[in-house]
């Protein structure tokens, strides 16, 4: 645990309790005792990095439902999933349907046939369902109709719809939806545990989980979008170093025992991309901090500010590549990042435009939506800002189709003396 007041670490500690619940409880009790429940220094926000826990807990089995005009005609044309997701799929079901990039229906939804399959799905006893439809980033109707049919049969099902995870590739969304669905029970369990303990000691603190993009989201969303918290650690390290050194815009070079890597911050937040790539296989469709190995060919912008953080536990040897550290930290700097993380909201969608004015309108609307989303996550309406906003043509797509991508960030209304 790390407590942060402004840019200063107020307290940092660990716990070696027998169970997770005990560890959380002990840590929060320590913090509570340290602050003596000081009304002038209230704990306003608690953000947990649950990624390591999500990665080590056993995910649940999933029924994967795929909506497309036609199923693969042979085994060669089935796209493969990474083994960590493929092994979770107890049953895969094809439903006829899907849309093109303009949201035009490619085939009528085969709902009748699907409804006939429902009793057999329920009979598996599996309650985690992923639904991935062709073209769902342009039209969500088929995924939603399948979900409605499932819920009408069993309202306790945990359903992940792929359109919440932007990628042009079906297999990326399928992979992400399956993994998210498989983790949702664990996410729910962790959220409940954290909520119970935090409420005991800090009843008025807002509770969040750290996200892969270097932002945070309300803990209440951990059960529905756990995949966004799966790989938050690199982003939080970048943010932690940037926070401690007071560098909102620049490069953050992390010297760790396992090697040197580099990330970027802009407007005080890690620069993020929309996919977590794993070689040439399926990518996880979750916004995540750009974080790459540092090489001797690395080119620094002439006017860029760099943070070179020595995070190694072994002290003495110089950093590779002749890097001279600007800061050395032995504490878990990722936790500093968690405490500093802002609420972040993303809009990533395809729009059909006919001219530049149309494009600007679509982009402006997306910016408004991203800010509204951030307010819905808990930010104060006056405390949101746009971190990035782009509208890009898509090669070899339909004329006029652009991808609009906007990131907003915000804070709750907090005073300087508050502790996070």
């Amino acid at each position: 645990m790390t407590a942060l007041e402004g840019q200063k670490i107020l307290h940092s500690s660990g716990s070696r309790a027998g169970s997770l619940a005990e560890a959380v409880d002990q840590t929060l009790a320590q913090l509570h005792s340290l602050l003596h429940n000081d009304p002038l220094r209230p704990v306003t926000e608690i953000t947990a990095d649950v990624g390591p826990l999500l990665q080590t807990r056993s995910p649940a089995e999933v029924v994967a439902i795929r909506v497309s005009p036609r199923p693969p005609a042979d085994a060669f044309h089935s796209t493969s999933l990474p083994s960590n997701a493929a092994s979770l799929v107890r049953r895969a079901i094809h439903v006829r349907g899907g849309h093109d990039v303009r949201g035009r229906e490619l085939a009528p939804l085969g709902l009748e046939d699907f409804v006939a399959e429902l009793p057999s799905i329920v009979a598996t006893g599996i309650r985690n369902i992923s639904i991935t439809g062709v073209g769902s980033i342009a039209a969500t109707a088929h995924e939603e109709a399948v979900a409605d049919a499932l819920l009408s049969q069993d309202s306790d099902m945990r359903i992940t719809l792929s359109h919440g995870y932007f990628s042009n590739a079906f297999r990326d969304r399928d992979y992400t939806a399956i993994l998210n669905s498989a983790l949702s029970a664990t996410g729910d369990e962790l959220a409940t545990l954290l909520e119970r303990s935090c409420r005991r000691y800090f009843p008025s603190a807002a509770l969040c989980y750290a996200k892969n993009d270097g932002g945070s989201g309300p803990l209440s969303l951990l059960s529905t979008t756990p995949v966004h918290g799966l790989f938050a650690e690199p982003a939080m390290r970048i943010l932690g170093c940037a926070t401690l050194t007071g560098v909102p815009d620049g490069e953050v070079i992390l010297g760790e025992d396992q090697g040197v890597s580099v990330g970027l911050t802009r407007h005080g937040i890690p620069v993020a991309s929309s996919l977590i790539r794993r070689g040439h296989g399926a990518s996880l469709a979750s916004n995540a901090a750009v974080h790459a190995p540092y090489t001797r060919n690395h080119l620094l912008a002439p006017d860029a500010v760099s943070v070179i953080a020595d995070l190694r536990q072994s002290i003495g040897a110089p950093l590779p590549f002749g890097l001279k550290p600007t800061i050395s930290i032995r504490d878990d700097v990722a936790l500093v990042g968690c405490a500093a993380a802002l609420l972040t909201g993303w809009i990533d969608r395809l729009e059909s435009v006919v001219n530049e004015a149309d494009l600007r309108r679509a982009q402006h609307l997306a910016e408004e939506d991203a800010q509204s989303m951030t307010v819905n996550l808990g930010a104060a309406p006056g405390n949101t800002r746009i971190i990035e906003s782009s509208a890009s043509s898509v090669a070899y797509s339909y004329p006029g189709i652009v991808r609009v991508r906007v990131r907003a960030a915000g804070t709750r209304a907090v005073a300087d003396s508050e502790v996070k």
Binding site: P69, D100, V101, R171, I401
Partner: protein
């Protein structure tokens, strides 16, 4: 490189060669490098499917010279307009159906298939078709790169017919287009593709091996593999560059940092897929302003306002840090990239070639520097 002659690749794969899984991996890399503006995911998906399928079959790559000049060969490739291939890859029966339709229409058996384009998804699709059909894949194509229109081929320059064109769409619907004029065929096919669901698997430019030998661009599958071998190698970035430049007679125009990206950056009145966009960069060493004009492909590179490369030159991007192809999707403000120009097949610099695929064909009011050279 000249149309009707081998590319700059040494002729070490004469006759018939069985491709290995490693060749497919390298081809994937090369196919991405030669068309960096296109999301490589569908190429990755196809490479993975081919590598899985190779467990029970082989891909035979054949030099066009070793085929009987009268053998019927046909181009296979995807034409897209409204659906990402990565969102709905072909289910597997499309290309076999198209080949069968061509055979029925011409009352002749197809003896080999070739790529509609020598990069991106269409550079790799015929390998799966070869696996499925047992037909060899010819080491040649009619573009020597990727162009957005099916009429932009060296076969068109050589007056080889594009028809009949067999198509099968997303939902399994089929069509056959008979249009002797390739530009008219492009218009008809593009309209049909929209109605067929956003992409169509196609077989077109049925011709003899002799015609392909005369008017196609040869050695282009091998070239993709060689490029991939270089980029995938575990060696220094400097070595990779040296070998690439030697293989492709490439030029590094600039190492520059992205300053600005703009969509819908200029008007377009053509039936080209996607909207134009532009990228402005600043050279890391000289401070020169580099501008890339993009519409499906990088069409023009200006250095301080002077033309440094223009379509039909192949312009692609490399990461100076990792020596890997840079996908345009991964480029943002602040990214440092190497802008690389590669000469296209010689046929593209002829008067009819520049007419068909020079800057003016993409609504850019400039002549290619070689127009009057």
């Amino acid at each position: 490189m000249t149309s009707g002659e081998r590319s700059g690749v040494p002729a070490t794969r004469l006759g018939m060669t069985s491709l290995t899984s490693a060749d497919i991996a390298h081809l994937r890399t090369g196919a991405q490098f030669l068309a960096c503006t296109i999301d490589p995911t569908s190429t990755y998906i196809y490479a993975e499917m081919i590598q899985s399928a190779m467990v029970s079959g082989q891909v035979q790559l054949v030099d066009v010279e070793s085929l009987d000049p009268e053998d019927l060969v046909v181009a296979t490739g995807m034409v897209t307009q409204g659906l990402f291939i990565a969102d709905m890859p072909p289910v597997g029966d499309e290309f076999l159906s198209c080949i069968s339709a061509i055979e029925t229409a011409l009352s002749r058996k197809v003896q080999a298939v070739y790529s509609l384009a020598a990069a991106s998804i269409n550079g790799i699709v015929p390998l799966m078709v070869g696996l499925q059909s047992g037909l060899p894949v010819v080491d040649a194509d009619p573009m020597g790169r990727v162009f957005p229109l099916i009429s932009q081929t060296t076969l068109h320059i050589g007056e080889v017919g594009i028809s009949p064109i067999a198509m099968m769409g997303v939902t399994g619907e089929r069509a056959m287009v008979e249009a002797p004029n390739p530009q008219r065929a492009e218009t008809l096919v593009r309209s049909l593709v929209t109605e067929l669901g956003g992409w169509a698997a196609t077989a077109m430019y049925p011709c003899t091996a002799g015609e392909l030998r005369m008017h196609g661009v040869r050695g282009t599958v091998t070239r993709m593999i060689r490029v991939g071998e270089i980029l995938d190698a575990d060696e220094s970035v400097e070595n990779k560059y040296r070998r690439l430049i030697e293989l492709l007679k490439a030029v590094r125009i600039s190492r520059a940092r992205v300053q600005h990206i703009e969509s819908l950056s200029r008007p377009t009145g053509l039936g080209l897929p996607a909207q134009p966009s532009s990228m402005t960069l600043i050279d890391e060493t000289t401070g020169q302003i580099i501008r890339l004009e993009i519409q499906n492909e990088i069409l023009l590179v200006l250095v301080d306002g002077a033309v440094a490369a223009a379509v039909p030159d192949i312009v692609t991007l490399l990461s100076p840090e990792y020596g890997t192809a840079v996908s345009l999707d991964d480029v943002g403000v602040g990214t440092v990239i190497d802008v690389i120009a590669i000469p296209a097949a010689e046929a593209w610099y002829s008067a009819p070639g520049l007419e068909l695929a020079g800057p003016r064909a993409f609504d850019i009011p400039l002549d290619h520097p070689r127009r009057n050279a």
